[in-house]
Symmetry: C2
Subunit: 328 residues, 2 copies
């Protein structure tokens, strides 16, 4: 395990055994008798990633004293939906590298990536329908729909430098915070009842997820591919106007605004993120966005501190810090 | 309504009012407050198509005396899943025209088509989770998974002229017959119980669906874009080896086999389907495939004739004839 993963592993210690169970479920779901499918799922299995969303299901379950035998399965389902969105996202973004493993759509073609994502969604929903409660199916189908709406609205807002900050947060929330919120809510509520804690943990997940996305948007501007483990600078390449850029643009004079538009749109520009850093004083925007992420995490922390003390609650608090300090 | 749709409309007369209800549900599901999404779903709504799968849910329900108030919703869900597969299929095939309405991925881009398909899947699953019984969610999630596996295996079998006929039927069944079978089974079984009739109608749907796919494969070779209302000749373009080609190849001598391989693979060839028709004596293969489809429909007919007589049973029988005689 690389050094930067150590902090995360320490953080997840209170749910180590249920995370292991979650990974077993995940890997059993990836096993498919069809050889062509197996070849692909083997490949996706190597993505792994931080599995933060699965961890949130389990931590929220522990912290609200609501853990059941089915929680690791619920967590695996959440993670599969996340994997499906990643696989389809790679088609969307034309991203070149995802966590240092060639993207599905680079090793195969777009067709295969579409089908593999569909397969993962279907597997996730199929698994959810055999759980003892329907809550997981209901919440995650609705969440998936909202994620799609967010992604579609994001695509419709490319190169929109006049976008309001509220709209940016609505989109970032819809495409990212929704699944964090659903993961936390399911942890606290599954198989049913427990509505008050469900609402509390939903709000916690939303804030942490939105902060995560804002940090992600900052890292895309400020990191290298190597630090990130995936292509950096893809947002500017794809015309996505993120919070740091939005702030810088809004506060800029006509000259700076024209420069930012040029950096986004001039054909053939080598490294748009670098140009934003070096020629568009993006630093202030990054500082502003970081402050917003910190504010969100502070609110999330206040919520979680209303829960009884214990290792899971502590882990949720440290997760907030992790989201803010992460470099990958 | 164009002349060729009249026979179909007559056939669906026994379920006219529940088909109307199904269309209401479908159109309410396509309504979305997000403007970018609404723009897309408006467009997809115009696809319409034959809605055969929805009709099968309703006819199977009537013919087995199992209709409920929820059947039109189940039928709409099946149709939405079908629409989602069509939208994603258009990415896969690079098909240029689908039912004379520009494909989603021509009017927008691949990214939008992926998201719209995902949205339709999610909407379908979300709707299924609020039905009174879980049977619909369970059966359709599993069916969607199988469809994906079929499509993935088909992609892996492109240009495989040595494929066995069993494998061809396995793939065609997985990607097409599965949804027909699920539609008929749901009609007969939803909300639960009624297992024997469910099994009977599943088998009926499988045979009719496989026949439909075989006829589809023949039409792709023998029709014009105009007759079909979608691009013809795409299978050869995409390297899909269908039953008529498989048969012709297997029975051909070395010269004919080489010719067929050339027609499939030579770069820049204008109209591969035409070349197959005119230079590769594909007629015998088409006749063989048609016979196979007729055999499947005959078996399906024998099954449905074990049900009590009535207008719905009669419609199911005529549907078999329709599948064989259709030119679109």
């Amino acid at each position: 395990m690389s050094g930067k993963h150590t902090e995360l592993a320490r953080l997840l210690a209170p749910i180590e055994s249920s995370m292991a169970r979650m990974r077993e479920v995940l890997s059993s779901q990836m096993t498919e008798t069809s050889p062509a499918v197996r070849d692909m799922t083997d490949h996706v299995g190597r993505f792994q990633g931080k599995q933060l969303r699965a961890a949130l299901v389990l931590l929220a379950g522990e912290a609200t004293k609501n853990s059941t035998d089915e929680h690791p399965t619920v967590a695996a389902i959440v993670e599969m939906i996340h994997l499906a969105t990643l696989v389809h996202d790679d088609i969307l973004d034309g991203a070149e590298v995802r966590r240092r493993v060639a993207c599905v759509n680079q090793r195969w073609d777009n067709q295969t990536a579409v089908l593999l994502g569909d397969f993962l969604y279907a597997r996730a929903f199929a698994l959810s329908t055999v759980l003892s409660s329907r809550l997981c199916s209901r919440l995650l189908a609705e969440t998936t729909r909202k994620i799609c709406v967010g992604e579609i609205e994001q695509a419709a807002s490319r190169y929109d430098f006049e976008m309001s900050e509220d709209r940016y947060e609505w989109i970032a929330g819809a495409k990212t915070a929704n699944l964090y919120a659903a993961a936390c809510e399911l942890g606290a509520r599954y198989p049913g009842g427990n509505d008050e804690l469900g609402t509390l943990m939903h709000a916690f997940g939303w804030e942490v997820g939105l902060a995560f996305q804002i940090v992600d948007d900052c890292l895309d501007l400020t990191s290298t591919d190597d630090e990130l483990g995936k292509s950096a600078g893809t947002d500017a390449e794809d015309g996505k106007i993120t919070l740091p850029v939005l702030y810088t643009y809004r506060r800029g004079d006509d000259r700076l605004r024209a420069k930012i538009r040029d950096v986004y749109t001039l054909p053939g520009l080598e490294d748009r993120a670098k140009a934003l850093r070096e020629e568009c004083s993006i630093g202030e925007g990054v500082a502003y966005a970081t402050q917003r992420a910190e504010g969100l995490v502070a609110r999330a922390m206040a919520r979680v501190r209303t829960l009884d003390e214990g290792p899971a609650r502590e882990a949720l608090e440290r997760l907030g810090t992790f989201v803010l300090s992460r470099r990958f």
